[in-house]
Structures are given as structure tokens and as C-alpha cells.
């Protein structure tokens, strides 16, 4: 098992796809699991269809808020073009999680606005974070905005991701 100091996840897509909310939930899930967490993104253009990226890092102690190029363990992509632009961030043996979107679209049909939590469910299979931490995080982030529906879709996505191997990491 390879030792590393931090887990690095890059979320990317276009404004309006729920990229930032997905990263926020993942950030909270890591906080609730007792990690030091940094999540970095740039606001301002996110609601106007521009590129959106959020860098999420957690571990015992995180320094840089940005993932260095070539150091992302996982890229969670909501848009093919954005993935192509940012794939240089991925580690050699890193995971490009782009198919969750296609599967989610088929699965959710007219409920596409919950796509981000579906994809998060698929992502959750790769990380050593307990299921109840994810659900707690969804409650915090969607407090007052139908957390139950989001939890249901998250679990659906998690079901779809079943069988994927957990990322092998051992945080020092």
C-alpha cells in the first residue's frame, strides 16, 4: 500500500451543473471523518456557464489549497471538454471518474438536477469514508432543501458504484 499525505480530488464541469455542491458535500464528509480538509475554488463566474473547478484535499495536515499538477488521485468530471483541459492534474495511476455522468443521466431521466449527488454516490465507493458520514454531510449542505431526495439519489449512485475497488491509500 502506497503511503501518501493527502487524498486529492479535482471536481470539474460547467457552471450550473452542481459541481461546487458536490465538492462541498465531499469536503464535509471528510471533515466529519476527522481529517484536515482544504477545498479551493473560484466564485464569480460559476453561475454563468463558465468553467468550474474545485480542488479538494484531505489528510492529517494539508498545506497547499491547490492540487499540484500530476497529483490528483481522482478527477470527478461533469463535462468532457473540462476533463480534457484538466487531465494533466491526474496522477499516472489516478482515476478519471467521467462515466458516472452518463450512467446518472440514464438513471435519473427528468431528474437531472440531482446528477451531482448521483455522481458523488459513485465517487464514495472509491474513498474510505463511512456511508453515514456522507449522509450527514448531505444533511448539512442541503439543510432546508430536500436532503432526503438527495440522500436517496446519492445511495442510488452508490449502488451503481458497487464493486469498484476502493482507492488503496494509507494516510500517514
Amino acid at each position: 500500500m502506497k503511503k501518501q499525505n493527502t487524498v486529492n480530488i479535482l471536481f470539474c464541469g460547467r457552471g450550473g451543473q452542481g459541481v461546487l455542491a458536490a465538492a462541498e458535500i465531499c469536503g464535509w464528509a471528510a471533515v466529519l471523518s476527522g481529517f484536515h480538509v482544504k477545498k479551493s475554488e473560484v466564485h464569480g463566474m460559476s453561475q454563468r456557464g463558465g468553467s468550474v473547478e474545485s480542488h479538494l484535499r484531505f489528510g492529517k495536515e494539508v498545506f497547499s489549497p491547490l492540487i499540484p499538477k500530476g497529483e490528483a488521485d481522482i478527477i470527478v468530471s461533469f463535462d468532457g471538454e473540462e476533463f480534457a483541459r484538466l487531465k494533466g492534474f491526474l496522477k499516472k495511476d489516478g482515476i478519471g471518474l467521467a462515466d458516472g455522468v452518463n450512467r446518472g443521466e440514464k438513471e435519473l431521466k427528468d431528474q437531472r438536477r440531482y446528477l451531482n449527488v448521483f455522481v458523488l454516490g459513485a465517487l464514495s465507493r472509491h474513498l474510505l469514508i463511512d456511508e453515514h458520514r456522507w449522509l450527514e454531510a448531505i444533511e448539512i449542505v442541503f439543510a432546508g432543501k430536500s436532503p432526503q431526495k438527495n440522500k436517496d439519489v446519492f445511495l442510488k449512485g452508490r449502488e451503481h458504484g458497487a464493486g469498484t475497488k476502493e482507492m488503496r491509500y494509507d494516510l500517514e
Binding site: G34, K39, V42, H43, R48, G49, F63, L66, K69
Partner: protein
């Protein structure tokens, strides 16, 4: 890993953490004008009943109100983005002379990388220019701690303190444990004309006081715990601060560091002591060579970044190249361009201005996007208020067919004086106030013409049309831009009139008014593939592989602008 979280664990951005720290430290007043990346500071504070907060009409007003509160005895905070502080420079420069009473922190949120600004000026230089101390955190957790130091330092040295964030810190979230608020009683206000009335004789004496203060601050800087030496491997020693410290720490965790949290006055003796204990000194900072100049002035041999790195943000992967003395590699891959939202009322105004081939002076806001292709119908953007005054100057030189666009919030911020200037100096031109009822680009904050305060209370509403008439403009029209024909006729009439006029194009921002109407349908048999509909640059209109267009029903708001621009009736509204 520890599983029992403190109930006071929060996950806060740099802006929020700074606001939380100030709140804990007994803050009683805060003012600002919205601007990315600083807006969330005031939004966070506005939810705390113990703090009197306001969106001021502009940064100059915000600064003066905050300074007044401090002079009268309340711990006070001003916040703005870097360019916002330019607007407040007048009171800032002289407040260094008057000093303060209760603690007064001036927060500047700089934007290296120009994510959402018109320039990337380095406001550390303002600390030196104004002769006030500079404090710089590296992370959100430090922002919470450092603002507390800043408030007490301000009282101890009787000076405003400049606290600088950058976008990367302001918009990074980090978990931290927060504390309770300390109740600090207001300080007593005493009349002191020698200190607070800056007429020449008093100001001269206060300049003497200021220089003495700087010498004492210099000594403080040398001993301050905010300037921390971390001695590990002596081969390489970084002199750095802000987020650059964390980038260096990421890439060289075993190196030695002089981490500068108190950057001005610069701790030259500490820097020399540090340099004598490491083999090679590398100065690492974003934007201008602020520390580099100070280090070199102290006679320390050092390596610093090549000038190509003065442009844009640093990134962790740049650090090894900087250490090796290499220049910056060309960036590849461009980010997607932003567009106006589906249903945005600004889109119609630019559609008309493009058709009428007007020369358009622009301003700061969502509508600056009107400059991008395929719209191409905004031709200058310099600063807040320039949509009126820059147009005034251009109109003098060009003579006709000239317009200026300015948002409602921006007009109140610094357009009013420009409009009076036009009336007074007999200028011509069409001022179009894009009145969407909010400060949209920065996250939908209220302003005087919305009739709501930051605390969501009702207040006296400023009436823009009455104000424009009171300024002396005779031709003031209010037009709903969603009716393209009426809008086009109205703009054409005023452009041809070749006099001074104001058109208030009034329709709510689609981020506030979320109502949706029926999605129009496209009829293939009528489409001549002229693509005028694509010219309005609506993200809901998609050109398909067969050359026909379709409308994405998920994001279309049903504004019907595309229906109105199609000359062949190929896009039709279901409602009709």
C-alpha cells in the same frame, strides 16, 4: 483519526473565517461594497446581531463610515476587493495620520490571476504608500487568528491595519474550531482636534507622529510571532508569505522558512539572521517583488522569481522551476468563456446596440460580458462609473451614435456624479442604466434602489428615474427590455436625437426572478439557417449537427428573445 468532532467545528472560507475571527474579537461595525472575492465577509457578519453592518453605496463611503465608528469608540472593519480600495484611497491615506480610537481593520482581497476583476494590482504596496502595517494570513484558519491580532495591534499603535487576503485564501474552505465572542466595551470618545482635524498645521504634527509610529512598528515586526522562522534543512531557506508559503511547504516540506505574516514594516534584522543560517535564500511571493526589494535592500543575497511570474497566480508546481531560476512556461488550455444566463434582460439591450452599430462605453458587472463574441457590443471597461464618464469623453471626440451602459448598483456607486458632470458640461450621449434590481455579478446583494438593507430590512427606496431628472436630464425613459421592438425603437430614437438622455432598461435579474415561461419550439421547415438566433449567445440555443437549432428545455427560461430575433418565424412561442 480522531472521530469525535468538537461541536464548534466549522468548515469556513477565508472570508467567513476572517469575519468569524473579527466577530469573536468584539467587532461592532463593518461596511463594504460588494466585490469578488471579498463579498462573503460582510454577508457572514450581517447574520450576527451584535455587529452593525451595511452595504455602503461605494468603498469610499464604507471606509469613512467604518473610520467614524472607530473614532467614536467601536471596533470596526472595512472590506473590499483590491480595486475597491482604490475608491477609498482618499480617506485611507489621511486615516494613517489621524489614527484610530477603537481597533480598525482594513481588509483588501486581492485577485492574482484576475479571476473576476479588471486588473491584478498588488495592494501590499498600499501599506507602504499609506504607512500602515500589513498583515497577511496564509490560510482561512490563519485569517481567523490574524484578524484578532490586527484589531488589538490597531489599538496598541493607534493606526488602521491593512489585512490582505488573496482570492486563493478568500475562497478556500478549511475546517477549524471556533470560539465565543468576547464582549469588549466601546472606547471612550474624546474630542481631540489636533488628532482628528487634518488641517495643515495639525497634519504636519501628525506626520511626525506617524513616522515615530513606523519606527515602533518596525521593532514590533522584528519580534512579532507572525514573522516565524522554521529552521529545518539549511540547504534552502524560503522568505515568503501568504498562500505562496503553503505552495513552498507543499513542494519542499523539509526546507527552512521565514514565514512573513507581518510584511510591512519589513523585519530586515530577522531576515538577515535567517539568511545567515541557511545556504541559499529564495524569496517567494505572488505578483510584485515586494519582499524581494526589501530583502535586497537589507543586503541579503537571494534568488527570486523571474519577472514572467509577476503575472498571474502562482501554483505549487511552479515552485521547483522558480527555485531553479527558470521562467514561466506558457499555459495551455483555456477555460470556457462565461455567458449571460438564459433569460438575462441584458441580452436584449446588447442585441439592439449591436444592430444599431453604436459605440458603447461599458462598466463593471455581468453586462461586461456584452464585449465577448458573438455580441461584441461593449467597447470599453475600465472602472466603476466609467460607463458614463468614459462615454462622455468618447462622445466629445466621436460626435454621434454613442452610448454608455451601467448597472443599477454601479450607477449608485459612482455613476451619479458622472451624470451630473455630463449635464453641467453640456455633454451628449445615451446613458443606459441596466436596472435588474440587484448587484448581480457579486452574488445578488441589495443596494439603495432595491429598498432593502444587508439585513434584509425595508428602507427608503432610491428612485432612479427621479434621481436622473433631478440631476438635470430632461429625456428619461423607462423601458422593459424584454419587448425587443419597443426597446429598439426607444434606443434608436435617443441615439438619433443626439442629445443627453437616460434609458432605464428595467427587468429583474434571472437569478432572482426564477419564474419560467413556456419554452419556444423550432420549426425546421421555416428555418433558413441564417443563425441570427445564435448571435444573441443564449446558452439554451444549440446548433445541431444537421445545421438546425434546438432549444434546451432544461435551461431555457422562456424569455422569447430568440422568437423576437428570428425573421422567418421559425422559432415560435407556445403561448401565442
Amino acid at each position: 483519526m480522531e472521530k469525535n468532532l468538537s461541536r464548534n467545528t466549522v468548515f469556513l472560507s477565508g472570508d467567513e473565517a476572517l469575519a468569524q475571527g473579527a466577530y469573536e474579537e468584539g467587532l461592532r461595525f463593518a461596511a463594504s461594497y460588494p466585490g469578488t472575492p471579498a463579498s462573503e465577509i460582510l454577508e457572514y457578519l450581517s447574520c450576527r446581531n451584535e455587529v452593525d453592518t451595511q452595504w455602503s453605496v461605494n468603498e469610499k463611503a464604507a471606509f469613512e463610515v467604518s473610520l467614524g465608528a472607530s473614532i467614536a469608540g467601536w471596533r470596526s472593519l472595512y472590506a473590499s476587493k483590491h480595486v475597491g480600495l482604490n475608491v477609498a484611497m482618499d480617506p485611507l491615506m489621511t486615516s494613517a495620520y489621524t489614527g484610530v480610537n477603537a481597533g480598525f481593520v482594513v481588509v483588501t482581497a486581492d485577485d492574482p490571476g484576475i479571476h473576476s476583476s479588471q486588473n491584478e494590482q498588488d495592494n501590499r504596496l498600499i501599506a507602504k504608500f499609506a504607512k500602515i502595517p500589513l498583515i497577511e494570513p496564509s490560510s482561512p484558519a490563519e485569517a481567523r487568528e490574524f484578524v484578532k491580532v490586527a484589531l488589538s495591534l490597531s489599538e496598541e499603535f493607534d493606526t488602521p491595519v491593512l489585512l490582505r487576503l488573496t482570492t486563493r485564501i478568500a475562497h478556500t474552505k478549511e475546517n477549524m474550531v471556533i470560539g465565543k465572542r468576547k464582549e469588549i466595551p466601546p472606547r471612550v470618545f474624546k474630542i481631540n482636534t489636533e488628532k482628528y482635524v487634518m488641517v495643515p498645521r495639525n497634519a504636519y504634527q501628525r506626520h511626525i507622529v506617524l513616522e515615530e509610529k513606523l519606527a515602533r512598528l518596525q521593532a514590533y515586526s522584528e519580534s512579532s510571532l507572525l514573522n516565524r522562522m522554521e529552521l529545518k534543512n539549511k540547504k534552502i531557506g524560503f522568505i515568503t508569505g501568504g498562500v505562496s508559503y503553503l505552495y513552498a511547504k507543499e513542494m519542499y516540506p523539509d526546507a527552512s522558512f521565514l514565514k512573513l505574516g507581518f510584511g510591512f514594516p519589513f523585519p530586515a534584522r530577522k531576515a538577515k539572521a535567517f539568511a545567515s543560517r541557511v545556504k541559499e535564500v529564495v524569496v517567494l511571493e505572488e505578483l510584485d517583488p515586494f519582499f524581494e526589494e526589501q530583502v535586497k535592500l537589507a543586503g541579503i543575497r537571494c534568488k527570486a522569481k523571474k519577472s514572467s511570474y509577476r503575472i498571474g497566480e502562482l501554483r505549487p508546481e511552479y515552485i521547483p522551476d522558480i527555485v531553479k531560476g527558470k521562467g514561466k512556461k506558457k499555459e495551455t488550455g483555456r477555460a470556457r468563456k462565461p455567458v449571460m444566463c438564459p433569460g438575462c434582460p441584458h441580452r436584449a439591450v446588447f442585441t439592439v446596440l449591436k444592430k444599431l452599430k453604436a459605440v458603447v462605453a461599458g462598466d463593471i458587472g455581468c453586462y461586461t460580458l456584452g464585449a465577448l463574441p458573438p455580441m461584441n457590443s461593449l467597447h470599453t471597461c475600465v472602472c466603476m462609473g466609467g460607463g458614463i464618464t468614459v462615454m462622455d469623453g468618447m462622445g466629445r471626440a466621436l460626435g454621434k451614435n454613442i452610448a454608455g451602459v451601467i448597472g443599477d448598483s454601479t450607477f449608485v456607486h459612482s455613476g451619479i456624479t458622472g451624470l451630473i458632470n455630463m449635464v453641467y458640461n453640456k455633454a451628449k450621449g445615451v446613458v443606459i442604466i441596466l436596472d435588474n434590481g440587484t448587484t448581480a455579478m457579486t452574488g445578488s446583494q441589495p443596494h439603495p434602489a432595491t429598498g432593502r438593507t444587508i439585513k434584509k430590512e425595508e428602507t427608503r427606496q432610491l428612485r432612479l428615474e427621479e434621481l436622473c431628472r433631478a440631476c438635470g436630464v430632461d429625456a428619461v425613459d423607462v423601458i422593459d427590455p424584454r419587448d425587443l421592438k419597443v426597446l429598439e425603437a426607444g434606443v434608436r430614437k435617443r441615439l438619433e436625437g443626439n442629445a443627453l438622455s437616460v434609458i432605464i432598461a428595467r427587468a429583474p435579474c434571472k437569478l432572482i426572478d426564477r419564474t419560467r415561461a413556456a419554452v419556444p419550439s423550432c420549426r425546421a421547415e421555416k428555418c433558413k439557417k441564417c443563425y441570427l438566433c445564435l448571435g444573441i449567445d443564449c446558452p439554451a440555443i444549440i446548433k445541431q449537427e444537421n445545421g438546425l437549432v434546438k432549444i434546451d428545455p432544461l435551461i431555457c427560461s422562456g424569455c422569447n428573445l430568440c422568437v423576437q430575433v428570428c425573421p422567418f418565424g421559425a422559432i415560435s412561442s407556445k403561448a401565442v
